[in-house]
């Protein structure tokens, strides 16, 4: 027994509380501790994934009260997969930002606490089996995200953060309203219990709660038109944080929404709604991305578009569709993080982050540019890189459901995507360098982090079977609603004196 899922929350929290204390004793520990924690959690996650594959979903009870009375954590193939992904991305981002704020110790303390908490919050969103608890974790994630967005002084980061905060507050309002409606009807907050009893709700409640959930969680999942905050926040946050947003936070938001739609309520029409809304998100975002003149903003819009695609894939609703969606999430996490991480070195010494400032940097930053190009070519779905397989799986899922229009739209949008990514790559490689730009060489730890991501892209691209098995069992576990309810509610009552 290596541990249980609750350690994913408890240990980082303990570490976060410890970091300021350790800072008094040994400054370097502030940087090392989060990495150690994440490394341990990665080890734990991988172990638990093996355990789950072997003996089924782990339901962990907290404070000794069996669900639905106590809060429980569910480590199923699905949540386990996402947790592992998030912890992995978190670890890579930690490697990347190990030397972040090297000079100013006090800022580093805050950065690492907030980053660790953002990761923990996202993991909590995924693991928890209780809607109110999920709300709390969403708030933990959001508050860390607000602070990290506004982390850089002397830029417009506070503006971005404030926009995020306004919309984030609306999000929490809708979530609470939905919780109120559910509680007033069922008197329970446990997801499995709600799913079990959802048919007891009076008409009207269910749909209104669902609408509030979709609106509230849609804000976290970057659905159009709820995503006004996204490009600003991505563009203004420090590079690793942007990577964490697209690799970790959004994934948690999408998961929460999907959990609500697939497990909590079974309302007909939701899937079509998801497809339509995802499609609109995808199209608008990719259209907006074409004309961006700032690199990170472009990446942000692209990230929104990809999330739209993920939502479309979930909307298809078949096992294949869910598989495609999860595959997309995985690939997007890896590739978009790579783009953010390498992209932020390409525009390192610039405040405005214009794309034309990356002109001709390939000569000065060969590895960074190469990795950026690799990410660009992978995210547009060129084989044999990772992005192709997810694109293939979503298209074939759509084809199996006879959604030709969806296929055509996805592919047309892919062409748009291809144009703006290749334009940037061309600039990096073939344009004359701007004189006033001073390229910043990536530190060794940043290079390691980016290379890991690059290698992952190649590995998944050449040997997709390395992940498809996990993805298949994860998608099955999402679709088996009855099993989820049974797994959670059959956990024995444990009050031990």
């Amino acid at each position: 027994m290596v541990g249980t899922p609750v350690l994913f929350i408890a240990i980082p929290l303990l570490a976060a509380f410890l970091i300021p204390l350790l800072g008094f004793v040994w400054k370097e520990s502030v940087r090392i501790l989060p990495g150690l924690v994440l490394l341990y959690l990665l080890y734990l996650a991988v172990n638990l994934m093996g355990q789950v594959a072997h003996s089924g979903t782990i339901v962990e009870v907290i404070a000794g009260w069996a669900p639905p009375w106590g809060i429980n954590l569910v480590f199923s193939p699905l949540t386990g997969l996402l947790t592992t992904l998030m912890i992995l991305m978190g670890f890579i981002i930690w490697i990347y930002s190990y030397r972040f704020k090297n000079i100013d110790f006090r800022e580093a303390v805050k950065y690492f606490i907030l980053l660790l908490m953002m990761i923990t919050g996202s993991v909590g969103i995924v693991l928890t089996g209780d809607i109110f608890n999920q709300f709390v974790f969403i708030e933990i994630t959001s508050i860390s995200a607000y602070a990290l967005t506004a982390f850089y002084k002397g830029r417009d980061s506070a503006e971005a953060s404030f926009k995020y905060l306004i919309i984030g507050s609306l999000s929490s309002m809708f979530l609470l309203l939905a919780i109120v409606l559910i509680y007033s009807q069922l008197g329970t907050l446990n997801m499995a219990d709600i799913a079990d009893k959802a048919h007891l709700m009076k008409p009207g409640f269910k749909i209104l709660a669902l609408i509030f959930f979709i609106t509230g969680l849609g804000i976290e999942a970057e659905i159009f038109p709820l995503n006004g905050w996204t490009p600003d926040a991505y563009a203004q946050a420090p590079g690793p944080v942007g990577a964490a947003f697209s690799g970790i936070v959004v994934k948690a938001g999408v998961y929460a929404m999907i959990r609500v739609i697939f497990t909590l309520f079974d309302v007909s029409g939701t899937h079509q709604f998801l497809i339509i809304i995802g499609m609109i998100t995808l199209i608008i975002a990719e259209m907006a991305a074409v004309k961006q003149d700032r690199l990170k903003r472009m990446l942000a819009y692209s990230s929104i578009g990809q999330m739209g695609l993920v939502i479309v894939a979930f909307g298809i609703g078949t096992e294949e569709g869910v598989f495609a969606a999860l595959f997309l999430m995985l690939n997007h996490a890896i590739i978009k993080s790579l783009l953010f991480l390498s992209g932020s070195y390409l525009v390192y010494n610039s405040t405005e982050k214009y794309i034309h400032e990356t002109d001709g940097l390939a000569k000065h930053l060969p590895i960074t540019s190469f990795l950026f190009a690799l990410g660009a070519i992978a995210i547009v779905g060129m084989p044999p890189f990772a992005g192709f397989w997810s694109k293939w799986s979503i298209l074939s899922a759509a084809a199996h459901s006879n959604m030709i229009l969806v296929i055509v739209l996805i592919l047309s949008v892919s062409i748009i995507e291809l144009v703006y990514y290749f334009r940037v790559v061309n600039r990096i490689y073939f344009f004359p360098k701007q004189k006033e730009v001073e390229p910043k060489r990536p530190t060794i730890n940043a290079l390691i982090a980016m290379s890991i991501l690059g290698i992952l892209i190649l590995v998944i691209g050449f040997y997709p079977d390395s992940v498809t098995g996990y993805l298949h069992s994860a998608s099955q576990s999402l679709l088996e609603k009855g099993k989820y309810i049974q797994d959670v509610l059959s956990t024995g009552q444990l009050f031990i004196q």
């Binding site: 109110f132 506004a150 503006e159 905060l165 306004i166 008197g187 490009p231």
Partner: protein, 137 residues
């Protein structure tokens, strides 16, 4: 239907109506007011409205606070039946616990919002949200 000045059903739902009104006022403040501080106030009002709604959902008519105080128990032996009997007259404790959490979270968000307002003022020297849009498109 006979019109009554104090329609009982309306009075019964006064909590809900008030809560929703507070929510709407808060939203109005957040969506229309131009000053950052007023927007933050709007968001806080919004929180308050939701908390009120949450707590009124848990209300049980003429219920007492969910505390087994000595005054309530008196000399009753604490058997399960007695506890059950006592608990029937109590309001639902769960929303109260939730509200406690929600208040704290709302407080945290407000604190962050206010500090952002300070930063924005420092940077833009204005509190008008219409003038703070360097980031767009």
């Amino acid at each position: 239907m006979e019109f009554k000045l104090f329609d009982l059903s309306i009075v019964e739902y006064a909590f809900f109506i008030t809560a929703v009104l507070i929510i709407l006022i808060g939203l109005y403040g957040a969506l229309v007011k131009k000053t950052l501080i007023k927007i933050v106030i709007g968001l806080s009002v919004l929180d308050a409205g939701i908390n009120l709604l949450l707590i009124s959902v848990g209300y049980v008519k003429s219920g007492t606070a969910p505390i087994f105080s000595p005054a309530l128990i008196k000399d009753m032996p604490l058997t399960l039946e007695n506890i059950k009997k006592l608990s029937e007259g109590m309001v639902d404790p769960v929303p109260q616990a939730l509200v406690l959490t929600a208040i704290v979270i709302g407080f945290g968000v407000t604190a962050v919002a206010l500090s952002l307002v300070i930063r924005l003022y420092r940077h833009h020297h204005t509190l008008n949200i219409d003038e703070i849009k360097n980031l767009k498109w």
